[in-house]
Amino acid sequence: MAKAVAGMEGVTSALNPAAVERIGMSEPEWLRERRAHAWDVYERTPMPTIRLEEWRYTNLKKKLDLNSLQLSDAEAMSDDASTWPERLRAAMDEDREASGHIVIIDGHVVHADVDKQLATQGVILESLQEAITNHEELVREHLATDAVPAEEGKFAALNAALWSDGIFLYVPKGVQLELPVRVTRWLSEAGTAYFSRVLIVAEAQSQVSYVDEVLSDDFESQTYTSTAVELIAREGARVQYVAVQRLGRGAFYQSMQRTLAQRDSKLDTLNVALGASVTRVDLNARLLGPGANSDMLGLYFGDDDQHFDFNTSQDHVAEHTSSDLLYKGALDGASRAAFRGIIRVLPGAQGTDAYQTNRNLLLSPESRADSLPNLEIEADDVKCSHGATVGQLDDEAKFYLMSRGLSLIQAERLVVLGFLGEVLAKLPLGGVVDKVTRVIEQKLAQHG
């Protein structure tokens, strides 16, 4: 079989069954089968259109051309940090304190390290490809099974068929990581499709926070990155996941995230979207055991013609679970954001507390925000609320601030950071707050 694939060189870089086989070439049988099955699902599933409720705000016909994309066939860069792009190193320098690092350049994990003490306690932080060899059973049990299986939809299937690498983080029972795990990604090849996965398993009573930052320069042609994120918190575990998206223009960033929170666990997520031309995040939080809690934060700041689409769901499966979602964004230029969120309380999930808020601040008359919060409640003893607002930085507020001597740029900066500060203030990771604040300030300064 290796021979057959080798003979197809030259066409294997497109998104096709040959690519699926090539990627899985040296993988175990079960994984090759999963990839082949996923490709089947992908081919059988029609491309979502705006007639589908979940895609009504993002017209894929206009926004994404999968046929134009190639898979990367670049060799992995070396582990020597001095050869890495400068912006990647700068981003890493800002947050040295960590329990471990992973660096991914153009889809390849080029570096992984984890605190020795933690490693001896059984913490695993490595590339998913390595984990298949080193920890096959753990990966086999969780990868694309419970959390983001191929059956989830067209893009979940495409990812499950074509993922090239990713991250596996395993925290054994009772082990608590004081410092976050930091992942930094860099993309450089225009016209390329990148597929990766994140799989985090936190065993009972363990604790971990994970920060995943992706950066690039602007791309001359559309570049697509798809990540499937599977987060599993066992009984009493505490997991915090942070994604910071700082891609250049031309990028289509897609992230499919599912969190599975077992009894008494706390599984929180934060999505920060600042870059890329198109951002699409699907977040599904499942509260599976009594006492489970998930807080979901989102923050976005758009300008020019940036497009953001957040599709979230909070599924309360077990009784006495709670979730709280707060997504806030500011939009400048002709940027646009859509938020579609649903709280689902399943039959039997009595004592559910669920909240959902989306707030938008429009900084220019050309910017636009659509917000569609929703409830679907099949239990009777629940506390749920949802709300959405779209506000404007109005002339009175501008005049008030300027009458105190602030320039228009200073006034906007103060108002935007104040508006988004409600989300930033809830972040316990100091480094992320500083970094995000700086990026927002840079964007505001460019548009003053």
């Binding site: 009175e396 008030y400 300027m402 009458s403 001597g405 602030l406 104040g418 500060g421």
Partner: protein
């Protein structure tokens, strides 16, 4: 215009930017350094419009007349430049800025008033802020609250005076600062303003008010009556007392006495 003049308004006419209806129909007013002037008048007479025009509100358009501030043309400056030049407007309806603490807001504003390239001394700023808040009988925790967000009417007005105390303007225009205040809050505000004018005898104040009671606590040098977009009478403090007794009835343009204008 004398050297002692801080503000000189001549024949000022203004309207709402997108409408035709004139609101100011020819205001003449001169304020000397260190003087306290009051403008009184019925609702809709144009008092608040005059305040906003002086501060550079973009919603109003000046159609005629001139305004000199310290001898220079004020009307060509943007709102932020007017503030930096030394004009302060205490708002009738202060704006809520959610998520922005008073300390952060004031730090940014005071920094904007520094000379070019001069960094604000943050410790000195904190000391002054604490001292100013004591003057206005504000709790220190007030500085961490978000600007006007969820404030009572009295707290909003006190916050305006705090900003004035921190920015130390040459001319403060106070637009109905007394409205919505109970008598105790009024006394605190008035005593704050009086302390500021004692500290800086050259600071001038233009009080805009409906009521005599503020003028019992901040004594004006001159009182002007504004009706239909212009000043129809000017005089000493006795004008305010007369208005209090007689009301604004009869102050139409026809029988106005342009005393002292």
């Amino acid at each position: 215009m004398s050297d002692a003049s801080i503000l000189k308004i001549e024949g000022l006419e203004a309207k709402v930017a997108d409408e035709d209806l004139p609101i100011l129909t020819g205001v003449d007013l001169e304020i000397g350094k260190g003087e306290i002037h009051a403008i009184m008048g019925p609702n809709g007479s144009g008092k608040s419009t005059l305040a906003k025009v002086l501060a550079g509100h973009p919603g109003y358009e000046v159609t005629s007349g001139s305004v000199l501030f310290q001898g220079s043309n004020l009307l060509e400056l943007e709102a932020d430049e007017r503030s930096q030049a030394g004009i302060f407007l205490a708002f009738q309806y202060p704006v809520e800025i959610p998520g922005v603490s008073i300390a952060n807001f004031l730090r940014t504003a005071v920094q904007a008033h520094q000379a070019d390239g001069e960094e604000l001394d943050i410790f000195e700023f904190s000391d002054i802020l604490t001292e100013r808040m004591e003057l206005l009988e504000m709790d220190v925790t007030f500085a961490e609250r978000h600007v006007n967000d969820g404030f009572s009417g009295g707290e909003k007005k006190r916050n305006e005076i705090l900003q004035m105390a921190m920015l130390k303007p040459k001319l403060a225009v106070m637009d109905e600062t007394d409205s919505g205040l109970d008598i105790d809050a009024l006394k605190v505000v008035a005593s704050g303003v009086n302390t500021l004018t004692e500290e800086d005898p050259e600071m001038s104040i233009l009080l805009i008010t409906h009521y005599q009671r503020l003028l019992d606590h901040i004594e004006p040098d001159r009182v002007h009556v504004m009706v239909d977009g212009r000043i129809v009478r000017s005089g000493g403090p006795e004008v305010a007392h007369q208005l209090e007794a007689e009301g604004y009835r009869g102050w139409s343009e026809a029988d106005s006495i342009a005393d002292g204008v």
